[in-house]
């Protein structure tokens, strides 16, 4: 058994890393949360978007030498376009003209996005090959006593929190945000107030995809060699757990859920090993669904 001070140091380091990771997880989950909260669509292809965002950052860095932090806005623009395309190609068929989104519609979009996820990840496997790649990016680190904290991690964590805050402001303080929230609460009433449901749902989906792909770009700085066509298979379930933890439709909930999961995974690893830490993080979902189906916030 290692002596106590080593364990304390490990826990403090795990906590800090967990918080940094949790902020980026929260940003990724925010993308899922937006589609889930606005259009009642649980996007199973969410993990594939994270993967595409990460590859976007990788290729921009490889061919144009972009800093991974600078690739995030470009990724977000691509995500916006992809989200609008996705809405009109897939969701519009199912959601068009609906007064309320029923369980049946939810299942149709769930299955449709599941098919997409299977197709996209395997298409990426052929296009990008299955090798793990990464972006060499070192922004230096700060030292506090014995702790060495990578600056890149702090940058992406701060940027993630800023984006989450901006989304919160957008949803609560602007006309568009009010329209989006009105749509998610009551479609017929929103229409009576002169809101175009198609436009609102499409913009919401585009916004969600933009945020997700930016999150994928940020993730590349935390995992130096973690880009792989199948990485989505890990980040999608993590995002589901985060959204359920925070409550679908609550943007701050994503941040709370993300931090919880980041800390559980990074501190849990020290005592339980990687496998069990992830298993605990995944299974957190079950008691939350049983005891607080609205999310842990309230």
């Amino acid at each position: 058994m290692a002596d106590a001070s080593v364990i304390v140091a490990q826990v403090i380091f795990g906590l800090i890393r967990g918080i940094l990771l949790g902020c980026v997880f929260a940003l990724i989950a925010l993308g899922l949360n937006l589609v889930w909260g606005i259009a009642k669509v649980v996007n199973i292809a969410h993990g594939e978007l994270v993967m595409l965002g990460a590859y976007g950052a990788y290729f921009l860095n490889l061919f144009l030498g972009f800093n991974p932090l600078l690739t995030a806005p470009i990724d977000a623009a691509l995500g916006l376009a992809a989200g609008l395309g996705f809405y009109f190609a897939i969701l519009h068929r199912e959601l068009r003209g609906k007064e309320a989104i029923t369980l049946q519609s939810e299942m149709v979009t769930l299955v449709a996005t599941f098919g997409l996820s299977l197709a996209i990840s395997n298409l990426a496997n052929i296009a990008f090959t299955g090798n793990f790649v990464g972006i060499p990016f070192d922004a230096g680190s700060i030292e506090i006593g014995f702790l060495q904290i990578p600056l890149a991690g702090i940058y992406v964590a701060v940027l993630s929190v800023v984006i989450i805050s901006l989304t919160h402001v957008l949803l609560n303080r602007t006309y568009l945000g009010n329209a989006i929230r009105a749509y998610s609460q009551d479609i017929p009433a929103a229409k009576l107030m002169g809101i175009n449901p198609t436009a609102v749902a499409a913009i919401g989906t585009g916004l969600a995809f933009a945020v997700t792909m930016a999150g994928g770009a940020f993730l590349t700085t935390l995992f130096p060699t973690g880009i792989n066509p199948y990485m989505g298979a890990l980040y999608a379930p993590i995002s589901y757990v985060i959204v359920v933890l925070g409550g679908p439709g609550r943007m701050w909930g994503s941040l709370v859920g993300g931090l919880t999961l980041g800390i559980v995974i990074d501190v849990g690893q020290i005592f339980l090993g990687v496998e069990i830490a992830y298993a605990v993080a995944f299974l957190l979902l079950i008691p939350v669904l049983l005891l607080r189906p609205e999310g842990i916030l309230r």
Binding site: V111, E275, L289
Partner: protein, 314 residues
Amino acid sequence: MNFGRLLRSAPTLWGLAGFLVVLAVWGPWIPTFVLTLLINLLLFASLAYSMNFIAGLTGYVSFGHVVFMGTGAYAWGYVVGTFGWHPLAGIVAGAAVGLVLALGIGSVALRFRGVYFAIATLVTALAARNIILVIPALGDGQGIILNLGFEPLTWFYTIWVILGIQVGLTYWVTHGRIGYGLRAIKSDEDAAKALGVDAARLKLFVFAFSGLFAGAAGALNVWTLSGVFPEPAFDLLFSLQMLAMVIIGGMGTLLGPLLGAVAVYLPHNYFLTVAVGAEFIVIGILVTFFALVVPQGIVGALRRYVPTLRGIIE
């Protein structure tokens, strides 16, 4: 007994029975290469019928069905490797473990509806895989290596029996009181409960069958692979393919899972030699297409657009 009337009363069931009998009689003369393909096709069909019990009959989409396959596989590997049981007895053990686990998971997860059930089953499967990886008795994540030899004919008849039981059970469950209850749950669970359908019990009943057969099929799958390894046993792609087969074939139908199995197995087998993973592009696009355009699946679409088939296939 008027044979003609019996035949007319359930043409799909008799058609499937005829198909199985032909396979059984032909069995010993099938060339080995074709036999291995058929074993895999029947395995896929068996997985599809297993998923059909829960996703097809109640509309509860499970993304984590591979958890039953994986635990069934590990149960098989453990009793055969450690206690020296006969592999066939191991299949029964795999089925029993699948059943018990389904009762356990089902009694919690079946309380969640729609997407919550899908997500709860998905994370359960991921967590179960991670837990199995660190259990020393189950090979510490290295797997259990068993070299039992190549016995295609035994495998063939084993999966044949499993599939036969599943087809019979699907018919029995859909044609009777239970079937009415399940259809009521699928279209509106609250209304069904209000009318006195014991939804929780019925759902658990079909989920238990689903787990039992997935466990048995998972055990047989690793028997053909001569060993239990965590990655292939808990490959999430199995869950996804099971779901794809049921969606393509037709949710809750008797013939659908078999058609879906063929539709998924053909690209699977074709692309194996062309490009690894390409089959999932085809399957994924098919699933998206069916979900949005033909939600009833092949069988439902045939019944809808070809009136003469309406009384024949189900």
